[in-house]
């Protein structure tokens, strides 16, 4: 268990070695660590695909998995319209956006070396939302424009939070409390902006208070997916430098890495991932917090696994969206479901930590 305040000897902080890797375990444990990680990662991906097929069959017009597969593979008739036009964009959006949030969380948790150092806890998501609202209210709402506004809002929030938390270094818990305070402040600002805007233009954005996938169709999904694809390439390129940064700045420099430049690039890409999602859905809280930590446990890796975090994030958001649509009689925004799941997860982190320190 990683402490909320990182310690020197914590494997999550110091990614060099994990004592557990030397222990032989039955089943997966008998594989070499790298092979085992690959199997676990593939298993998560497989589960995500299965859940996606099941989710495509759920709704007012229920379809069995074979019917869904037939529709996906080019069948005709109403089933194909329902699956391809109505349900597929939303399921894909859940997978893609969840993956982006999970990857963004992994980047920030690695950079801050703190499981709570994820963009939603520190307030970047809410700040990105502020940026998106400002763009929409100013009347220049296009997918790219809104995403840029969200990016600017997220970066500005990141800067403000770090400056406010800075006092002879960044103290982990202080960063988080400052982030939470800034989140509360921005939440008020966002409500105020939406309230003022409603008087002038009817806004679909007001629905976004808690983050929802209900308004995502193909026209919204495709540009966002293109942006995310570009960012995915960048993240993949930065994955190795990120590992080296985890070893500490000195070790990274010894490997010929420009530590500050790399860190800045990672922050930019991490905020951009959150911003693109937020611009399309509104703030979805706690996926970025929980996905990397869950992935770390599933994959049993020492550091935060980027690919694993992305896959778990996609699966998590998809499951949350299924719950949001089908468990209550009236659909609720998926952001509320992730809020509950993530909050419960945060409590379990704190309980486990209090047991350890006792």
């Amino acid at each position: 268990m990683t402490g909320l305040v990182p310690r020197r000897d914590d494997p999550a902080v110091d990614g060099r070695r994990d004592p557990r890797l030397g222990v032989r375990r039955p089943g997966l444990g008998r594989l070499r660590p790298r092979g085992r990680r690959a199997v676990a990662t593939a298993a998560v991906a497989l589960v995500a695909v299965v859940v996606a097929v099941l989710a495509l069959g759920l709704g007012d017009y229920p379809l069995s998995p074979p019917e869904v597969l037939r529709a996906l593979l080019g069948g005709d008739g109403p089933a194909s319209t329902i699956v391809l036009q109505w349900r597929l964009p939303r399921v894909l959006a859940a997978l893609l956006f969840g993956a982006a949030l999970g990857a963004s969380g992994a980047v920030f948790q690695s950079l801050t070396r703190n499981p709570l150092g994820s963009p939603d806890v520190i307030g970047f998501s809410t700040g990105a939302y502020t940026g998106a609202i400002l763009v929409i209210v100013s009347g220049a709402a296009s997918t790219i424009g809104t995403a840029l506004g969200a990016l600017a809002g997220g970066l500005a929030t990141a800067l403000v939070v770090y400056l406010l938390a800075w006092r002879r270094g960044v103290h982990g818990l202080r960063l988080i409390i400052v982030g939470i305070a800034v989140t509360a402040l921005l939440h008020s600002v966002n409500s105020w902006l939406l309230l003022r805007a409603q008087a002038e233009v009817a806004l679909s954005a007001s629905f976004w208070g808690a983050g929802s996938l209900a308004l995502v169709g193909w026209p919204q999904l495709l540009p966002a997916a293109a942006l995310l694809a570009v960012l995915a390439v960048l993240v993949a390129g930065l994955a190795r430098p990120l590992r080296q940064l985890e070893l500490g700045d000195d070790a990274a420099r010894a490997h010929g890495l420009r530590a500050e430049g790399t860190r800045l690039a990672l922050v930019l890409v991490g905020v951009a991932l959150t911003a693109v999602v937020t611009a399309s859905t509104g703030p979805i809280i706690f996926v970025a917090l929980a996905a990397p930590q869950l992935a770390r446990r599933v994959v049993r890796s020492a550091g935060v696994p980027l690919l694993g975090a992305a896959l778990v994030g996609g699966l998590l958001l998809l499951v949350a969206d299924v719950v949001a649509q089908h468990v209550t009689t009236t659909p609720v925004p998926v952001g509320l479901v992730t809020l509950v799941i993530g909050g419960a997860y945060l409590i379990s982190l704190l309980v486990a930590e209090s047991r350890r320190t006792r």
């Binding site: 909320l4 305040v5 709570l116 406010l164 938390a165 006092r167 002879r168 270094g169 960044v170 103290h171 982990g172 818990l173 202080r174 988080i176 409390i177 400052v178 939470i180 305070a181 800034v182 509360a184 402040l185 939440h187 008020s188 600002v189 409500s191 105020w192 309230l195 003022r196 409603q198 008087a199 808690a210 809280i285 706690f286 209550t328 009689t329 009236t330 609720v332 925004p333 509320l336 479901v337 809020l339 509950v340 993530g342 909050g343 419960a344 945060l346 409590i347 704190l350 309980v351 930590e353 209090s354 320190t357 006792r358």
Partner: protein, 357 residues
Amino acid sequence: MATTTLPGAVRAPRAAARTRRRVAGLVAAVVLLVVALLLGLAVGARPVALGDVVRVVASLLPGGAVPGDVAPADVAAVLDLRLPRTAAALVAGAGLGVAGAVVQAVTRNPLADPGILGVTAGSAFAVSIAVGFAGVTAASGWIWFSFVGAALAAVTVSLVGGAGRSGGSPARLTLSGIALGAVLSGITSSIVLADPRRFDAVRAWEVGSLADRGWGPVATVAPFVVAGIVLALLVSRPLDAVALGDDHASSVGVSVPLVRVAALVVVTLLAGGATAVVGPIAFLGLMVAHAARGVVGASQPWTIGLSALLGPVLLLLADVLGRVAAPPGELSAGLVTAAIGAPVLIVVARRLTGGAR
């Protein structure tokens, strides 16, 4: 303490100066409260002149009559709409302010606040259960749920966050409260959204708004809030002892468990009661307790007394600000207190955790 080594002749004037300062603070708070009450009655979509407000309110006194030269719509706005609303702010503000002071004292945590620690979210959650599943429609029914929710949330958060134990740090208790509050408010919002019509009565309430408050909730809750404040004043001296540490408290004959239970009852009555009227409002107790302590120094009786006055001042001003911030709509008082209180949380967190780790 340095003052104990000083000869009495030097100490006495200091104590006198301190008392003068405290009395002056109390008087200033009363003046502020009167101003805030008048603003609460005068400001809104239909502004009423302050002089008219005074005359309209004075007409409620025995033998008074509604002045003829004030427009009937103005009279209705003041008496039927804003008077119950202002009374709600008075009751809830006093409750949340005192609850903030008590919860900070008993947890020895300057970051504590009934909203931040998830206590008001627990109340709101219980009330949404009462309205959504138990079919309760009046404040006289849901107030009991509100109390139970507040008490359960307070106990849970102190168990998770390790309040009062040597292992628990203020920041961790705060984090536990925020996590618990997130879970509970997420479920509350889902319950409310899933059946909007049934929740018509509490929709404005869920976001911490004072709008459309009749006399019902205020009248139901006021006795409990008064009882809570009286109990808070009764345990204020023992709380002073507990604030110096459990060992110190035991050595001067204070039963620490008893004080904790009393504080729990106080917070339940005040935060649960306030939430039953105005919904979950965060940061108010945090700000009020710090402001009060800044004026009167380390003395629980004075802090609690001043908090009872400053709480309504802040809630009334937040409500007034929310009414004029985004016409024709209204920003709920809870959102305004969050916007004002968040910077206070940042300042306190920075002061509390000085170094880099």
